[in-house]
Symmetry: C2
Subunit: 238 residues, 2 copies
């Protein structure tokens, strides 16, 4: 963070970093000095990031050991330098990291952002694609969005998961027993009025329950429902 | 937003929405009533979202016209329901939207999140993959991350662009003239000491400048540099 002004913003940026598993915070000339009580208070829970933060008097010193530097800016400057998306930055950061090349992100001061003298040190500028008519982000939000892209670039969470807790999905046999039970009761209740329609109606019904991806517990619950409904009507009870 | 407590959080959530081009804010039983002065103050610039916000007394009424509902939650509940990533949610929201099926996201109250009675209304739960040891997000940050995924799902910004302002990239001919100029001066300065190495050295040098992707202005600047350096040494001056 280059010349951050409010301690609160350093603290919320530290939280956003830790949300994304990032811990190496470097501060260049924070306006109110360092350490900063307000930064610590706002960091709530991310104290480790604040504790390890390092103070530098120039941007050059802060980044001296890094091989890849990306600068974040909402504004396109009068500077011929590639502008990349947060996703592309994440890919490059991960690639550099895999090669053992230390990488860093620089963020400018609140409102005014990075000076040209700082931006020029970066190999590319990152601009977050947002509503062009309302794209202002505060410091912690900018850190969070870019950190999030970095985090998910290595995250292997499946796009969809079905959490089962202590349960398990029903086996095909359990499902079939439930469906046979339902089917028998429907026969008894004269649900399949037209013989010719029976196969299609049965398929449609089966698809409904099949799609739900039932657990063993849910299969038992449904069997209870069927038994209960049938008993009211004086069904087969099986 | 279901039962949001602080007006400030409604305001910052409205800003995060507008950042992502989202404007249809629905409020269910906000603790401090509606309208709310603090919400407006915190919305700075996103007043349009606050102005259009609608108030509902139940979650059911707030979502009655929607076809797809996704609920955001950091916690896995004792509920068998698919859990999806923000990216997957964004794809499904865009897909629903393209089919003319209205879609909505529900967010619970600060700290306690959604109740099970509200979560159950959703077709899937969204969990943001973040550092499992520190994943707490405030309301506006959660809105921003999920809104951001929604926004970029339709964004066609190239991963890398080179902004040229009023300038343009140099033509191949302009580049060649510069390189020939440099080459002549290097010959004059006896840079290519060993004849056998000349082709490789020339290729290496050319690659450096070629990789930079020079603009016409930069080519002129570099020609000036070469001319200036050569004149000090009494070069060919061409």
């Amino acid at each position: 963070l280059i010349e951050p002004q409010l301690g609160e913003n350093i603290g919320t940026a530290a939280r956003a970093m830790l949300n994304c598993g990032l811990i190496d915070l470097r501060l260049v000339r924070p306006r109110d000095g360092w350490p900063n009580r307000k930064a610590r208070a706002a960091a709530a829970g991310a104290d480790s990031v604040i504790d390890q933060a390092r103070l530098f008097s120039t941007t050059a010193e802060a980044i001296a050991d890094l091989t890849h530097i990306f600068a974040t800016t909402a504004r396109h400057r009068d500077m011929v330098k590639p502008v990349i998306t947060p996703h592309e930055a994440a890919v490059r950061l991960r690639t550099g990291d895999a090669r053992g090349e230390a990488c860093g992100l620089i963020f400018g001061r609140e409102r005014t952002g990075l000076t040209n003298d700082d931006s020029v040190r970066a190999e590319a500028l990152i601009t977050v694609p947002l509503n062009p008519r309302y794209s202002s982000l505060n410091l912690a939000q900018a850190v969070l969005l870019i950190g999030y892209e970095w985090y998910i670039a290595a995250d292997e969470t499946a796009n969809e998961t079905l959490p089962l807790g202590d349960g398990r999905l029903a086996t095909s046999g359990e499902f079939q027993e439930f469906f046979d039970h339902l089917d028998r009761e429907l026969e008894t209740a004269d649900f399949y009025k037209v013989d010719a329609m029976r196969p299609a109606m049965r398929r449609n019904l089966r698809n409904i329950f099949q799609r739900a991806g039932l657990t063993d517990q849910e299969v038992r619950t449904l069997r209870g429902v069927v038994a209960r409904l049938s008993s009211k009507r004086g069904g087969s009870g099986r």
